[in-house]
């Protein structure tokens, strides 16, 4: 997991935020639903990948139950929103629930190290998904009145704001002492503790930040979709997608999850026209190659090329 220097991170943050700023003009330039839906998907993916990147990339804790927090955010936000709460408030409540749950289980889950944390969180995510599926088996559909007032651009701008927020959060984290401590834990937890880093506290902070963003993304999902099964956002593929995007782009870097998300959604949408799920075959193979050969993902590859060219 090769990080980037502080200057490169800031350069990337500026570039990404500029690009997101330009995307704010898209509804004016091309007010087509298919285009907006496509970009919406990218933006949601950026938020999810970036949120996963905080806990896995920076703090080094491979959380395979990330979908649980996305799902909790969606569940709470949806119920409150349909009940009449303003969406912003409903989303914040959803995120707060996700974070509260994360902190509740975090202290126990972080007793697990490395791969055991990963499979423990995977099981936890499955417990939540199964339970929600049992308790709320009925599909959740918006009331007719809400559907009548549905405006895609609202959702689009909200997604844009969340993606920008996630990039800003990671940029701030990457340059801070907090982020430095997290990276120390990622490299060697015992050594980090020996130098005075409170590992549990930092890991919980990373998890809270990560799950808060995932909870907001869940709220956005609840706001965006007209009907879905309540257990759907708890599905493990939400975690797996975030993981793939982050690793392929470059885990533990700021631009990695963004690049990964763009590439992933573009390929998925393009390939899905002809072959169902074929993108997973490509990304599965690409992912294996990256873990084995290029642990820093595309960002690392780009850095290598840049250094070679600069010579």
């Amino acid at each position: 997991m090769n990080g980037l220097s502080g200057r490169r991170e800031r350069w990337w943050a500026t570039a990404i935020l500029l690009a997101l700023g330009l995307l704010a003009l898209l509804p004016l330039a091309a007010p087509r639903d298919d285009v907006l839906n496509f970009v919406f998907l990218i933006l949601l993916s950026i938020t999810m990948a970036q949120s996963w990147n905080i806990v896995a990339g920076y703090a080094g804790q491979v959380n395979l139950g990330h979908a649980a927090f996305f799902g909790l955010g969606a569940l709470v936000a949806r119920i409150l929103w349909i009940g009449g709460t303003p969406i912003a408030l409903a989303m914040v409540a959803g995120a707060a629930t996700a974070t509260a749950f994360a902190l509740l289980i975090g202290a126990a889950a972080f007793r697990l190290r490395g791969a055991y944390f990963a499979i423990g969180t995977l099981a936890l995510g499955e417990i939540l998904r199964t339970t929600v599926n049992n308790v709320l088996p009925e599909i959740s559909t918006l009331p007719a009145r809400t559907i009548a007032g549905y405006r895609l651009t609202q959702r689009y701008y909200l997604a844009l704001a969340l993606a920008a927020l996630s990039v800003l959060a990671v940029a701030a984290l990457a340059g801070s002492r907090l982020g430095l401590g997290m990276r120390a834990i990622r490299e060697d937890e015992e050594a980090a503790e020996a130098t005075g880093v409170d590992a549990l506290k930092l890991k919980l902070t990373a998890l809270a930040l990560s799950t808060g963003l995932a909870g907001l993304a869940g709220g956005l999902f609840a706001f965006y979709h007209i009907s879905y099964y309540p257990s759907h956002p708890f599905g493990p593929h939400w975690t797996f997608d975030a993981l793939l995007m982050t690793f392929i782009g470059g885990v533990g870097t700021l631009p990695g999850p963004v690049l990964g998300a763009v590439l992933y959604v573009v390929l998925k949408e393009y390939v899905a026209l002809r072959w169902v799920d074929f993108h997973l075959l490509i990304f599965g193979a690409l992912f294996i190659a990256i873990v084995l050969l290029l642990p820093g993902g595309l960002v690392q590859a780009a850095e290598r090329v840049r250094r070679l060219a600069g010579r």
């Binding site: 423990g120 099981a123 169902v276 599965g284 294996i288």
Partner: protein, 289 residues
């Protein structure tokens, strides 16, 4: 009353398959310190192999095992050479983490491949004796599932003997205990890894056959079976294949009991909750002996 007993009996039958699924995973993890989360997908592939052997060669599914197991062994050899031989070069902690990630990528790829090749539909195998039932008192025992349990038990027993008696079986156990010491006694540890992985994949293939005969196979069953196998491995610990099998039986019965108590939909949750609790209570020691 006899409804409950009937349910527990069916739990025992599926528990045998959990045990078989877990044995392969346990062997691979114990020997190589590689956590292959694509194990469920290997079971899935075994299921499809069985479907095709039965359809095109016209064999009885239980006889088809004689083809499915060797084919799965070969698949295991290929996967070891192609992927996991690169993972075992790393130190132990990196090894577990990387193997998890690689297994994960493999699981995705195999799942997608299965959907491409065979569509997402469920398939099962109907034998002429599918409906046959043996009645003991008030219990009715489906013949296919009884046979599956017997086959699973026989495979575990065979594996146990293989590890206890065969020269390379002992080498595999020695490697599991201390791979450096194994090297010092002249054991080619890479070869022990290859054998363990191939056998683990062979067991997954066999489990796939039994799953398809007794239940059904679809490209998406992988994750569920990986989780079941992980739960059993965590419960039973490493080292004893018989112990792993018993752990599988227990999980099957526990699931059936909880389904009977809390209602069917909670069948899955019980095992997962036990799993998480055991993990957290014994965060380091659980995979130890």
């Amino acid at each position: 009353m006899n409804v409950l007993e009937q349910q527990l009996l069916l739990g025992l039958f599926i528990g045998g398959l959990y045990g078989l699924a877990a044995a392969g995973l346990s062997l691979v993890f114990g020997v190589m310190k590689v956590l292959d989360v694509a194990h469920g997908e290997l079971i899935m592939l075994g299921g499809y192999m069985t479907v095709f052997v039965v359809a095109f060669v016209g064999l009885d599914p239980f006889v088809a095992l004689l083809l499915v197991i060797p084919l799965s062994l070969l698949l295991g050899v290929a996967l070891y050479w192609g992927l996991f031989s690169f993972v075992v070069r790393a130190d132990e902690e990196t090894r577990v983490k990387n193997s998890l990630l690689i297994g994960f990528g493999l699981a995705l790829a195999l799942h997608a491949l299965a959907v491409q090749l065979w569509t997402a539909d469920e398939r099962s195998i109907v034998t002429p004796y599918a409906g046959a039932v043996i009645t003991v008192g008030e219990l009715s025992i489906p013949l296919v599932r009884l046979a599956s349990l017997a086959v699973a038990f026989a495979l575990i027993g065979g594996l146990h003997l293989l590890l206890a008696r065969w020269r390379w079986g002992k080498a595999i156990r020695a490697t599991a205990e201390d791979w450096q010491a194994a090297l010092l006694t002249g054991i080619d540890v890479r070869r022990a890894y290859l054998l363990a992985f191939a056998i683990g994949t062979g067991l997954a293939g066999a489990a796939g056959t039994l799953v398809t005969v007794g239940y059904s196979v679809s490209p998406s069953i992988g994750l569920e079976w990986t989780l079941k196998a992980l739960i059993v491995v965590v419960l039973a610990g490493l080292g004893s294949m018989i112990g792993t099998f018993v752990g599988g039986l227990l999980l099957g019965v526990a699931e059936a009991a909880s389904a009977a108590t809390f209602g069917g939909p909670y069948r899955e949750v019980v095992g997962l909750v036990i799993f998480v609790v055991v993990l957290v209570v014994r965060p380091r020691g659980l995979f130890g002996r």
